[in-house]
Subunit: 335 residues, 2 copies
DNA sequence: CTGAAAGCGCTTACAG
DNA sequence: CTGAAAGCGCTTACAG
């Protein structure tokens, strides 16, 4: 059915080896032969079967990317960058959704579609400490986010403690004194949230301000509805607060909606800040202050680290990705 | 390095054929043999090389999805649904970004990674009438969005004319009389926008209201910034308007931001409506009226249609996907 | 500079 | 119920 190397060879009157040489750009082919082969390739519309090539070479040129869900904007933005960066290296990306479930993350980790995938980039949520070391056999893996284990597996992350500390400090120095938190870790696996809470506490320590942990709200997930629900609960406690630090932007956007419904003015009555700096932060009402990880850099390093490991290199890019705290309307000074 | 079928066969003391039979669940294997084989598989941690299987069977279990960009929320939502639907059928999805460029859409169409992909789902923007017919050879293709050519290629869409007509009619019947449009087609390829404009005109005809095409704003893209820019221009004309129909939600969200900056009240002074019903419509300020295509259904039918074509079936699902006009705060009656 | 042959790891008629 | 062998479409030492 499809055109094969053999067909091209027959038409050009050469061996398959020679066609292969031309296709793969080997230098030692006479100009005449090369021209004949290229003409045959053109005439037949030949395209090499990458599956077969890959079986032979042991390289597919495909990597897998595992994220909780693509319709969570942050992950869509990261995925877009990863696909771009991979494409620049001639790699194609297979995207898998895990819903943050351990089972499915393990599935991705152990090289979903064995034999077809050269490497894996995974943004894990449910993985436990030992999972990674036990499952990673064969394909190279790069983890996005906090280190899951003390293992040798590459992981890329921003300094969550420092980011949360800087953001919290800016809230405190602008006069806020009762900073609520939405998204505190509940289970044992929410390592990023734990670190952010740590940063929050350190900022309070830095400025000698006491915090009130009754203002810390847990969430069932990290989407708008969860943020809305948490702030609803927060308001319900009757406790006063003059700022909310949400551990991601969607939570913050959900929070804004509920505050508005309660006629709480942002930032006059309550400052609100998020994390991730998704596109929407620049367009929400009010625009949203957020921690902005350099997603382009994150994706680039993830792909390059993976590539380096696939090449068996020991040298990989710096695992710590830069971030910035972007101040917007939602935390403008109340004075 | 990796464990092969042969290794399992040796350990179990049977032929590779028998191991293959066990793995593929063929019925005629004695219980003893099966148990021995399964034990060996377990002991060695054997996982079949899907690349090799695929080379032999001609089926990879991988499909490609081509979208303009993943960080455009609508496409991320569609992609999330496609991956879910594909997963339910045991298919994995390779995601490619085209930026809406013709060249790259053709690349996807002609079966990016030949031999590794069983079928293609593409949401085209730049493809011309004849492109599709000429390029589609080999792998089955399902197009998302308006029919690009009169070709036999499957395409799934909503009734854009009727959707725009219903939405426009609701604006007119609620008393709006000067309905601006943001996102009118400029080039020759913007078929969906053209149909939406058609629906807009029909609604005016239905109710015998004249439209003013000086209120029709073109855009360079379909993102927030483009909507903001267009409304900026619209305001600049000095022409009065009491509603804006944006041809997607991001344009509408950009529009809201600019109107707010100009202290134009929505919906009191101007009603605003979008298209696609992305998640954010339910959380923006004000919440945004939009045409809501059934994305789950769209993705499901896309995958099932593709599967049917890959199986060589002639029967495919209905290409017309249902939609609903969801009324929210942004178009509440001004009376 | 080019060819004949082996082999990547599977599946599948074909025998027995 | 199980085995020996061919072949999917490539690449790659090995000769010449």
């Amino acid at each position: 059915m499809a055109v094969r190397l053999k067909d091209v060879a027959e038409m050009a009157g050469v061996s398959v080896k020679t066609v292969s040489n031309v296709i793969n750009g080997y230098p030692h082919v006479s100009a005449t032969t090369r021209a004949r082969v290229e003409a045959a390739v053109e005439a037949l519309g030949y395209r090499p079967n990458l599956q077969a090539r890959s079986l032979r070479t042991g390289r597919s040129g495909v990597i897998a990317l595992g994220v909780p869900r693509l319709d969570e904007v942050y992950f869509a933005e990261v995925a877009a960058h990863v696909i771009d960066a991979a494409g620049a290296l001639g790699l194609t990306v297979l995207v898998e959704q895990t819903d943050g479930e351990r089972e499915r993350e393990l599935e991705v980790l152990s090289g979903i579609r064995p034999g077809m995938v050269d490497g894996v980039i995974l943004s894990p949520l449910g993985l436990s400490r030992t999972d990674v070391d036990e499952t990673t056999r064969g394909v190279p893996v790069v983890l996005l986010g906090e280190r899951v284990s003390g293992s040798a597996v590459d992981h890329l992350r921003i300094d969550n403690v420092e980011a949360a500390r800087q953001l919290t400090r800016s809230l405190l120095t602008s006069g806020r004194r009762r900073v609520a938190v939405v998204g505190v870790p509940t289970g044992s696996h929410a390592s990023a949230a734990r670190l952010r809470l740590d940063g929050y506490q350190r900022a309070h320590g830095d400025l000698d301000v006491a915090w009130d942990d009754e203002l810390w709200m847990s969430v069932a997930g990290y989407r708008r509805a969860d943020g809305a629900e948490a702030v609803h609960r927060l308001v319900g406690t009757g406790k006063p607060f003059d700022a909310i630090f949400c551990f991601n932007d969607l939570l913050a956007l959900g929070a804004l909606a509920v505050l508005r419904r309660h006629s709480v003015r942002v930032p006059e009555d309550v400052a609100v800040a998020g994390f991730d700096d998704i596109d929407e932060c620049s367009y929400s009402v009010p625009t949203l202050t957020s921690v902005s990880p350099d997603k382009g850099e994150l994706a680039l390093r993830a792909v390059h680290t993976l590539q380096a490991r696939m090449d068996g290199a020991g040298d990989v890019p710096d695992p710590e990705v830069p971030f910035a705290v972007v101040q917007r309307e939602s935390t403008a000074s109340s004075r």
